[in-house]
Amino acid sequence: MSPRHDTAAPPEKEGGAAPADRIPSSTPAEADVRRRARLSRRWQRDMRWSPYAFVSPFFLLFLAFGLFPLIYTGWASLHAVELTAPTDMDWVGLRNYTRIFDDDFFWNAAKNTLTIGIISTVPQLMMAMGLAHILNYKLRGSTFYRVAMLAPYATSIAAASLVFVLLFGRDYGMINWALNAVGFDNIDWQNDKWPSQIAVSSIIIWRWTGYNALIYLAAMQAIPQDLYESAALDGASRWKQFLHVTLPSLRPTILFTVVVSTIGASQVFGEPLLFDANKGASGGAQHQFQTLGLYLYEQGWVNQHLGRASAIAWTMFLILIVIGIVNYVISRRLRASS
């Protein structure tokens, strides 16, 4: 066996042949290295730039339909622009602003926006909190209640406002009928100041309470149970648990809903427009429920002063920024104190 081996294969020859064999195989290896380098360069490019490619459609559209309009509105607010020729702009400086600040209807609209905002937001969020607390119990058919409460959210401003106009009718409306039944007089929901603001607010409350309740509910379900358990062991009643466990844990969510509702309330437009019996932009015969949004529309599209309307829009924006800053400061304070 072994002698055959010895004669058959001279090891040196084989060894000498080996490099010769390797030469042709080394070119694919180099090509492979080059291919890998190319791939890895492409890979690096991909890793580096594709995130920007992924976010750029949003930012391009945002530039065109968010940022540009924001700045352009500010620019237009310094010009006299008419609705009929929106591209002709004459520089007037701050005159648009002084004009609207001198206008009693502006301050009236600002006050109405504030009061309607409060009347609609405060009860809405409080009811939503109560509803969320109840929905957080173990209940039969809880999905049904949640969906039913969200149904108003599916209803448009237009449809909801038109229905509420009928429900709040002075002579034949259902709400006055119910008030009569329990011994009250008819209320003129469209022409008296406070009743009309309450009526407009009720449309907003109706549409958004269920939505906010769901948001609170989601936050409540994220509260760790051991917090309640230790509170219960300390002898806290359910009401105390709600006050000292639930509410503090919900603080960020509450702030979030307050901010969102505030923004929503500053923009109220469709409800007062459609609630008006005359379908005008004045918010009732005495401007009793004209909001800033409606005032902007009246200045821009009824009186055709787009420049003045821009000034109103920017004023609203500045107010919102102030509110945002105040909110931020409050939330920092709250966080620091807790």
Binding site: P51, L61, P69, T155, Y172, I215, Q221, L320
Partner: protein, 301 residues
């Protein structure tokens, strides 16, 4: 490359495990609701649904009956006649087609763009990521009134008044959508899945197609419905650029029914009902998912 990646199960369903805790410590979600809880819920449900039901009742009655006390509490016989009349009078067929086109295009676009951008913000590292996310959250605070005037000028310049694209283009951006998808993908898409696909040599676009989209499907469906509802119900901007004469959306058409000197109340109610019905149907069918989506998108910050 076609690694079949099963999307992770919907995280909405995870949280409440209700049975384990000691009874003494039960609070909130663990307690069974008593009669008062049910009474309050039933009251609120009635309050939520009554205006909708009453819209149908009012649409089924004639105006003489609506101008009497007490107001009608039950259906009359004229519902279908009025619905037909409102359908024709407000040109609701065309309006619904318009609104479906607008809401459909913006829902699909917003969902796709938001998923892609949300993925980048949730899972990729790149310079300026946090600053960009802050800008996006900040844009949610810009009131739509601010953009209305320049948009109106743009539309006037482009000669797009009464054209549907005037409504479609501004509704293609949704800061909320990006935020929503980011929040979802952070928790619903495990990094291992992306890494596995990377190891297989997948490019970023392939990762999006084969990993992100399947994983995000439940959230995409919810976001799509939310955007659809929002666009369907949008009023301010369509009201400004679309007139009733050319290409109205449903909301503009319905609002138009309320104008005029002697408005026909039951006709208005019929129009309001028709404008709301499609969305109520969507809610009746997908209500559970939409509720889950709202609850999820709103909080997990």
């Amino acid at each position: 490359m076609t690694t079949t990646l099963t999307p992770p199960t919907d995280p909405v369903k995870e949280p409440p495990k209700r049975t384990r805790r000691p009874k003494s410590a039960r609070a909130g979600g663990q307690l069974h609701g008593g009669p008062i809880a049910y009474a309050v819920l039933v009251l609120f449900t009635i309050g939520s649904l009554f205006p909708l039901v009453w819209t149908a009742i009012a649409a089924s009655r004639d105006n003489n009956r609506l101008a009497q006390t007490p107001p009608p509490f039950w259906f009359g016989s004229g519902l279908f006649d009025k619905l037909e009349l409102a359908w024709k009078d407000a040109n609701l067929g065309e309006a619904m087609l318009n609104t479906t086109i607008v809401a459909g295009i913006s829902a699909v676009t917003v969902v796709v763009l938001s998923t892609i951008a949300g993925f980048a913000f949730a899972k990729l590292r790149f310079k300026g990521r946090n600053a960009m996310m802050l800008i996006i959250i900040g844009t949610m605070m810009i009131p739509p009134q601010l953009s209305v005037i320049p948009l109106y000028m743009m539309v006037a310049k482009l000669d797009w008044s009464d054209q549907l694209q005037a409504v479609i283009f501004p509704s293609l951006v949704s800061a909320f959508g990006v935020f929503f998808m980011r929040q979802y993908l952070i928790q619903a898409l495990p990094n291992e899945l992306i890494e596995a696909a990377r190891v297989d040599g997948a490019s970023s676009w392939r990762v999006i197609w084969h990993v992100v989209f399947p994983a995000a499907r439940p959230a995409m469906a919810v976001l799509g419905m939310l955007v659809f509802v929002q666009t369907w119900n949008d009023f301010l901007w369509p009201f400004l650029v679309l007139t009733q004469m050319g290409n109205p959306t449903v909301q503009v058409a319905v609002a138009g029914l309320g104008r005029g000197f002697t408005p026909d109340q039951s006709l208005i109610m019929a129009g309001a009902l028709l404008g709301t019905l499609p969305l109520l149907l969507v809610f009746a069918i997908f209500g559970k998912q939409i509720v889950g989506g709202i609850m999820q998108g709103a909080v997990k910050g």
